[in-house]
Symmetry: C2
Subunit: 339 residues, 2 copies
Amino acid sequence: MRMPSAGRLLSTILFLAAILVAPNLARSKQAGVQDPLPSWNEGASKKSIVDFVTRVSKEGGPDFVPVDQRIATFDNDGTLWVEQPIYTQFIFLMDRMRSLAPHHPEWKTTQPYAAAVSGDLKALAASGEIGLVKLFMVTHAGTTTEEFPPIVENWLATAKQKRFDKQYTECVYQPMIELLAYMRANGFKTYIVSGGGVDFMRVFSEKVYGVPPEQVVGSSLKTKFEMRDGEPIILRLDEIGSVDDGPGKPENIDRMIGRRPIAAFGNSDGDLPMLQWTAAGPGPRFMLLVHHTDAEREYAYDRHSPVGRLDKAWDEAVAKGWTVVDMKNDWKQIFAFQK
Amino acid sequence: MRMPSAGRLLSTILFLAAILVAPNLARSKQAGVQDPLPSWNEGASKKSIVDFVTRVSKEGGPDFVPVDQRIATFDNDGTLWVEQPIYTQFIFLMDRMRSLAPHHPEWKTTQPYAAAVSGDLKALAASGEIGLVKLFMVTHAGTTTEEFPPIVENWLATAKQKRFDKQYTECVYQPMIELLAYMRANGFKTYIVSGGGVDFMRVFSEKVYGVPPEQVVGSSLKTKFEMRDGEPIILRLDEIGSVDDGPGKPENIDRMIGRRPIAAFGNSDGDLPMLQWTAAGPGPRFMLLVHHTDAEREYAYDRHSPVGRLDKAWDEAVAKGWTVVDMKNDWKQIFAFQK
């Protein structure tokens, strides 16, 4: 009798295994299938997400998109974490400025610095994301790449969002955290594209959102490489490099990512150009706006809010059939701490 | 007789498979172990690369670096592909300019435009990478994100490097292609950080180097998002956004990647700040310069070449013990077409 080769023996064994074990495996797999979006109520919003992700990742299907083209961009403030009563980074900058104010008497008479030092949230909010960049500039020009992250880390570890009495990195939307993970599990590369400072967001983006620093796009100062005492440093200059808001979002996506996203997520008019740019590409597309409708569990605001105004983008979303999430009705849970 | 459960049956089958098949698999695996860098001659350069990659990827070892921090940056011109007698992108731009010249009589009297139109390679080379950016600007301002890539694709498909009579994308260094793949196989994220135009390089980087567009950093024009006939477009403006050469390299690495590389590869003084920035971080570091020493198979140039001058960076590499590749002696093969 001729001995079968190891290869044929392996084939036979695998064939037996398939016949005998496969039905059991199939059953246990079915039992183990978990809803990847448990904090989302069943409804049109959740369905639109799952339908899109399923369609683009179905190999051989008419809407299949190769993995390398599955780029999804997410705004941060108001889309992934709380932006009321004012952008978190404003609070951070105000805290920084108060400690620096004694050396800057001129801040008392010039906006948005005066508002920051006196804690006038309304005036600060009115200065918009450009005001934020100005504060960013005045507090961080002169710091090096190495000096900045520990300042942010220390602040995040101690500061609290007043209304919820939680750390800011806990004030992130649980349904969006699930959505980020769900999209990555289906081959998407998830990016943050936000008006916030890129150096600020990169400190926590990986830990909080699973988005590594190189996938964070944000507002920035110009920088300068130089040698100091024989050591190379990169200094933040007193000059705006990029304001990553409104048209700045698609411009920076083009410059930094170099591909057009196939899915984009935002919550305000500042996200409209990013959603328009995403929508205008060929093949399947997905655009979503988070509408803040839940004054009880979070905040309710839209057309008339100085922070996170949702007006033109809302109209366009309705006209074009983009997904508009109604936080109150679409989200079973908003924060992980609100069980 | 009690029937075994499917689970126990599977265990038994896998156990049998392990006993019967494993020795054969082990043998074939051993036989199949291939040198990941076959175009590199054995010697100090190759050894330094393999030592570094082995050390940082050895879990539990003293020099282990987590995968997410394994960032490696590569210059393009002269490091991954031929840059003599002049940067490839110059040739591309000259070809573009000749077709546009009749509409621009002013180009006849102003450098580097006059040199480009008349084909004066020496004057062009003297204008450096900033000259390149100027030509880039004048030929591409006004084009949209969608219009540019097909122009580059068409040119690459037809233009040839004169001396080798090969397409430019064939004039890439086989040992470096192997090195890119070897590093990626060991968990590195490989980036191109080059003085060349980012929009130009992104057209071929994935196909030729396996580096996707979002991992290409380069020189760029400012851009502007706007609506044209109801469609969003991104226009290249007649204004330099960033010159990714010299100090611009670490500045752009910081801005676009947001992490300090642990390995950097270049060939000229324009790469020195990137290598210095890489070297100055904590933990294991690897810096490499390609020295063009092979006039027969490629080109030989260093301290006095206007294109790809290697002078200060060479001195610093020697002083600091960085790896300096001697193309003539370290590379068994330079191009895939030179078997």
